[in-house]
Symmetry: D2
Amino acid sequence: MGLIGLGRLGRVYARDLARLIPETQLTAVADTIPDLASRVAAEFGVPHSYVDPFALLDDPSVDAVVVVTPTHTHAEVVVAALDRGKPTFCEKPPALNLDEALAMQSAASRTGVPLQIGFMRRFDAGYAAAKRHIEDGAIGKVVVFKSSSRDPFPPSVEYANPRSSGGLIVDMGIHDIDLARWFMGEVRTAHAIGGTLAYPELGAVGDIDNAVVTLQFEDGRLGVVDLTRNGIYGYDITTELLGTAGTLRVGYLRETPLLVMTARGVTHDTVPYFMERFEKAYVTQLQDFARAILAGRAPSVTIDDGIKALNICLAATRSRESGRPVDVVSPQASVH
Amino acid sequence: MGLIGLGRLGRVYARDLARLIPETQLTAVADTIPDLASRVAAEFGVPHSYVDPFALLDDPSVDAVVVVTPTHTHAEVVVAALDRGKPTFCEKPPALNLDEALAMQSAASRTGVPLQIGFMRRFDAGYAAAKRHIEDGAIGKVVVFKSSSRDPFPPSVEYANPRSSGGLIVDMGIHDIDLARWFMGEVRTAHAIGGTLAYPELGAVGDIDNAVVTLQFEDGRLGVVDLTRNGIYGYDITTELLGTAGTLRVGYLRETPLLVMTARGVTHDTVPYFMERFEKAYVTQLQDFARAILAGRAPSVTIDDGIKALNICLAATRSRESGRPVDVVSPQASVH
Amino acid sequence: MGLIGLGRLGRVYARDLARLIPETQLTAVADTIPDLASRVAAEFGVPHSYVDPFALLDDPSVDAVVVVTPTHTHAEVVVAALDRGKPTFCEKPPALNLDEALAMQSAASRTGVPLQIGFMRRFDAGYAAAKRHIEDGAIGKVVVFKSSSRDPFPPSVEYANPRSSGGLIVDMGIHDIDLARWFMGEVRTAHAIGGTLAYPELGAVGDIDNAVVTLQFEDGRLGVVDLTRNGIYGYDITTELLGTAGTLRVGYLRETPLLVMTARGVTHDTVPYFMERFEKAYVTQLQDFARAILAGRAPSVTIDDGIKALNICLAATRSRESGRPVDVVSPQASVH
Amino acid sequence: MGLIGLGRLGRVYARDLARLIPETQLTAVADTIPDLASRVAAEFGVPHSYVDPFALLDDPSVDAVVVVTPTHTHAEVVVAALDRGKPTFCEKPPALNLDEALAMQSAASRTGVPLQIGFMRRFDAGYAAAKRHIEDGAIGKVVVFKSSSRDPFPPSVEYANPRSSGGLIVDMGIHDIDLARWFMGEVRTAHAIGGTLAYPELGAVGDIDNAVVTLQFEDGRLGVVDLTRNGIYGYDITTELLGTAGTLRVGYLRETPLLVMTARGVTHDTVPYFMERFEKAYVTQLQDFARAILAGRAPSVTIDDGIKALNICLAATRSRESGRPVDVVSPQASVH
């Protein structure tokens, strides 16, 4: 396996691929920052390291590629990997605009090489169990999807700039939107409200810090997603499936199994951030990718999933800007 | 105190006024159903009983009136009570349309007689504590209001008919909307989606059983309310105030302090319905009304509160029907 | 109903008997503190008030008596009531020594007049539900009984003096010991350790503030009770029934349905004290007493229950003092 | 690092040492079961494998040894490792009798080679946080230690036989007893009750399945530990530290972050078994051992800790058999 992009998440993937996943051997890492790849290679015993991602793609020891580069570079790297016949895993979101995402789709389609998108929540034990309970009929027909994502602190203004992040709804909401599709099916209309209410510096670069997105699915069922950058108390990801015979809630808040009980009340801590909350989901996701390739089966999460989730996020973003609900038109229809 | 209307909630009020609230003496009850008032009078030792509500209003032993009649009769009874100079408590919603609510407001204004509206959640210990925490600055500035109301089973189709209930958003949502105003201030725009997803029979009379309402407050802050009739697992009322320095959650699910732990997991029960959840809030509310009258202070919750909450619910109902956000125009401007 | 003893709990009983329990009419109250009975009578509209408890017993309007006087006076008042043929409810513990308790038992037996002892936890919804679950076989055979009682602050040294309170294990533990018998049956051996670890002033009057009591039931099953006066975080009463097919836990900690979530963690409040925790159990208990009398059925909790629980507490107290396990010998055999 | 013993826990240690702990390189594995070591070596890329544990001890690539063999073999293997100058980690309990444990202590003392005992709960994030909170004074002086260990199913009768397991109190309770010493200090007296109440087949080989152990510490403070093999609902490890200014509780029950909410109540799952509950503690423990060796510092948990905990468990076992409290006499005095 080759790994391109060694930022914070990239280094976690390096550890996972090198150590935790028996199915994979990490043979090459690449990052455009000088020396970074060689340092990571030394730390995890990886034979080859590159500054040039495309050099890694040409490394014959690399049977498949994991791409964790900045989002605006996904399309170029992924298309190059697919053109070389290397099964590719691409971190979410697939791209910041539909054109690039559709180019990735075309390459996957043209080459027939597998391309998996990193919607890791599907691999979390809680979400997976919820899916099984629904399939088993435990809560009847699901009629409302409700999801909430909260970061414990704001991103840097550089990161938050919508030109690189896509803005709050794309950057943060795409996970919830993917879950919405996974649990409920396709979305007909999106409406969003939002604002820069807690961190004015984010407004200065054009981003918002809070949003509420409502979704009406094609069959009339309902969805709502709320997003915030000021989840001060901890990283909090919660999803609820309200059904005609019961309800499922996925999410938890406690990190340490300790309760502190004093005259001021009973207090527990919270999950620090996404790495802690989804540590196992990230491993399971890469393992699933590796197993899909080894077994010759299609990826669990495809570029179509990436495009459709992105398309809904973009519709919601436009709704937030215009103040009006936006119909979610199939992206294939909207571009060439 | 005189009590008009002896349905389920009316009988609870009879018990509360007769037994639990030291400040009040229940001297008269009335209900148009023959014999009902006399039976309730006998049960609680009330001296006078009436079939005609207006006869009760003329009873000289009655210093103040509690009105728990069907909503469409509120305006007539309340205006008559105010005209007789009797301080009046009126169950929520004040009316099903703004004209009637505005007539109640005019009567209160013209006579100067106190009129309190029954938004009892403000008197729940949890909501009251949340209000104090916010005033104490415990969570900084509140930027998102999030509330959920769930009934454990659907109403009868007779009850649910929007001509008598006002429809889901008025009937059920007005409590959450009142909390929204109480915690956040005035609403600028409402948007709603909804549908009849669980109980088709409700659709046959023109009602929906699930809705999601988003609110943008006048200062740009955000709100979202979800409502359902299929909260199968129990009566579940939850409100969250997301602030810049912390978050408050009001709500609880357990009724009996018992955990059943078997190989099938750890299970607890839930709150059966609103009487159990808000039993004390109902008592505190009537006590607050009695104390306001005795102390000569203005009611804690006024007909203005009732009109504004109703107006937002009606705007959200129109939004749900039209598919478009609706600006919440001050009702005084929109009529006469 | 007549009520003797108007301390803190007595006044709550006055309110309950006067207002909350439809089956009862409170016609007389008595307390040896001058004016106290007349003031309480005025507050709750009680026709007769007495300084002399025995005068109340002779009041013909009194059909039954509730005794909430200091424990060392129980025997004299209760025997006098029974001798006058008045069904009697006596607050726990029945007495501080077995001789007095056995005298009460003799009087009940001799007169055939009902005598109920105030083990109110049996009337708590949680404990009652646990009992039903066990009878329904939900957890198989119960093999371990585990209970914990914690006061949020220490009693006054006057109260705590074992000469009036009986000491920690009698005063506080008798509720848990009664539950042990109710759920498990008779006790063969008790062993206790304890000490004055938090409040040295309690040690000065001969009491301890923490204890752990182990019980072996006659059939070999196990029990453990821990007691503390330094439950600083709130009033906490928890009981667990560990069975061969599952486990039940009774208890809860939250008072207000509010979570405060900040960077310091997620905090909830706790139950202040026994009145808040068992408010409804006290009402249900008196209602059960009234219904038993009206229906002519035997009391739910008898003086035999009181004697057996007291006997186990006294055995555990001796064990704590001697450092050795103590066999629980039937009290009838040990006296007379 | 060399690893001896490749049963269930041994294979987890193999994975941890080979993959998760950057400080270690697993160069040799040994197990007396033919082929097992070579298979594990192949799975984790370990260069050397042995059937004879003593051959592994002579392998020059082995700088330190982890011993996870059956308890009755610990002493022989550990002494041999220490005599060869190899720092040794030995799984708990150190031995089944004090003679063997003291022999290990002598070897460690004589050779000056580090010997660490596997009380892994000390490395769990919850227990570690509790320790810090106590040291920070968050709950004042701790006066009661309360701990509970529950297995979700019984062991095989072969395993449970006290001749190999030491019996319930040694086999299962030694973790709680170690925590008792770690948090509270030395124990003066132990008393235990217990029985074979759920699984008669365990009684047939001389073991019990439930026990309650009370401890009085040298300074008079209190402790209680309850142990069961019939924690049917899941693996449940809970410890409470009751202090003069607050209380700490360590423990959690949920495995998947999913709540299933239906008309039957609100249900969550539980932790399956010790591997899931303490997965990270096991890794942290081995990492701590490796770091201690590399840094030349003394082990965090010594053979003295092992001997003292074992000694208390043996005293409690004798108390359970005799029905009397047993003084915990320093083991050095009692032998040799």
